[in-house]
Amino acid sequence: MVLRASRWKWSRAAWQRLFLVLLWLGHGGWVFLGPHPGQHWSALVERLSRPAESLASRWETWQTFRRERALDTTQLRAERERLQAELAEVKRQQAEAAPRLAEAEEAISLLGLKQQIPLELKAARVIFTTRPATFGGLIIDRGGDLGLVPDQGVLAPQGIVGRLWSVNATQSKVLPADAPNASVAVMLMRSRATGVLQGMGNGRAAIRYVSNQEVVQAGEAVLTSGLDRVFPRGLLVGYVAEVAQGELELKVVVNLSAPLDRVHQVLILPPHPPLEVQPPFLTEQPKPKAKRGGA
């Protein structure tokens, strides 16, 4: 038996079926493609690339955030350095202006005190202090050139400072009120009891010759009594710090109100001032004349 290779050939029905299949698939593909054939592929590509795009977007956002943060940090650092420089400059200017400012404030206070006391006061500047030394005092820049003489009272805006101890041509030495050899006639503001203030050093002084019968309270103001003819009556000396009963007299310790270690400018009272001076606002005003009849 001889085997013959049969010739491969499609029948008419097979060709028809192939045509039908192609027709059906062609129509189906055409329908599936839709009005915009590329949109399926673009949608597929978009869907597939969505994770990568999301990742890239987050990466870009993170980089932008880092860049802005670094920029902010740089700007903040520059701003801080600029503010530090400005602060240092302001502090330097403040330090430079502080002495002049303090001096100006002191001068204003002195001016106010001078206007309150209707006497011929002379201003002077403290140029040196020897208070730490025994029997030390303050050295002021005025002396005989301004007509100063010893035992003239010296004032500061906060209270009395002391009296002139010695005077030379251009300088004078002030004996402060807290010196052991200094004495000022004083009186207590509330009880009006008089006494003599004697220095104890370090801005403190004791009042002598105050009777045990007097009632003195701590915190009470101490004023000059004017009896020593160095200070007129009524100038502030200090405040009572301690009160104790003694055998014959009260032991009254006073904190002087004038900062003797920090005083820079002083006013000098005239020699032998009057016992009592009236401030300008207490001077007697002329009474208005009474009206006559109806208007």
């Binding site: 028809q16 045509f19 039908l20 027709l23 059906w24 129509h27 189906g28 055409w30 329908v31 599936f32 493609l33 839709g34 009005p35």
Partner: protein, 162 residues
């Protein structure tokens, strides 16, 4: 009783007439849809040689969509018609016709399937669109055009009674 298959000439003749009616009935969409369903489901399918019927169905689909001129991408109706014509021809060969009653039942089911398939294919091709109620006309008028198709194709073999 086995119903004899109509001659190819007769079938093509009536298909051509129906296709002409599909084109001419364009101003009346409901009527056009009924004639279209009759052509695709009743006249075009042919057992044993599906190619001719498929071509008539494709032509009916393209004529319908072309006369409507509404879709941005034509072809959905033609594809649905092609599928339904092939399915109807295959069923005619697999389960031969035995009478008018079975014919009408088969056409009713085909009409419903064609409505759904057309809607899906057009939606796939042209995008979402409103379904509406026009698809009910071919389904509700199945007895009319089914009986007419039966008379036209198998007029010699049966009286047309149920």
């Amino acid at each position: 009783m086995r119903i004899p298959v109509p001659t190819l000439l007769r079938q093509n003749l009536w298909c051509a007439v129906a296709l002409g009616l599909v084109v001419l009935s364009a101003p009346f969409p409901r009527l056009q849809l009924v004639v279209h369903a009759c052509l695709v489901l009743a006249l075009a399918p042919r057992q044993g040689s599906p190619l001719v019927g498929a071509l008539w169905a494709v032509a009916a689909g393209w004529c319908l969509e072309g006369s409507l001129r509404l879709y941005p991408h034509l072809g959905g109706t033609a594809w649905a018609d092609l599928t339904m014509a092939l399915l109807a021809g295959w069923m005619a060969g697999r389960w031969p016709l035995e009478g008018l009653k079975g014919w009408l039942q088969r056409l009713g089911a085909f009409a419903l399937m064609q409505a759904l398939l057309m809607h899906g294919a057009v939606r796939l091709a042209a995008g979402p669109h409103a379904l509406g109620w026009t698809w009910l006309w071919p389904v509700l008028t199945v007895p009319i055009w089914g009986w007419l198709g039966w008379r036209l194709l198998y007029g010699r073999s049966g009286s047309g009674r149920l």
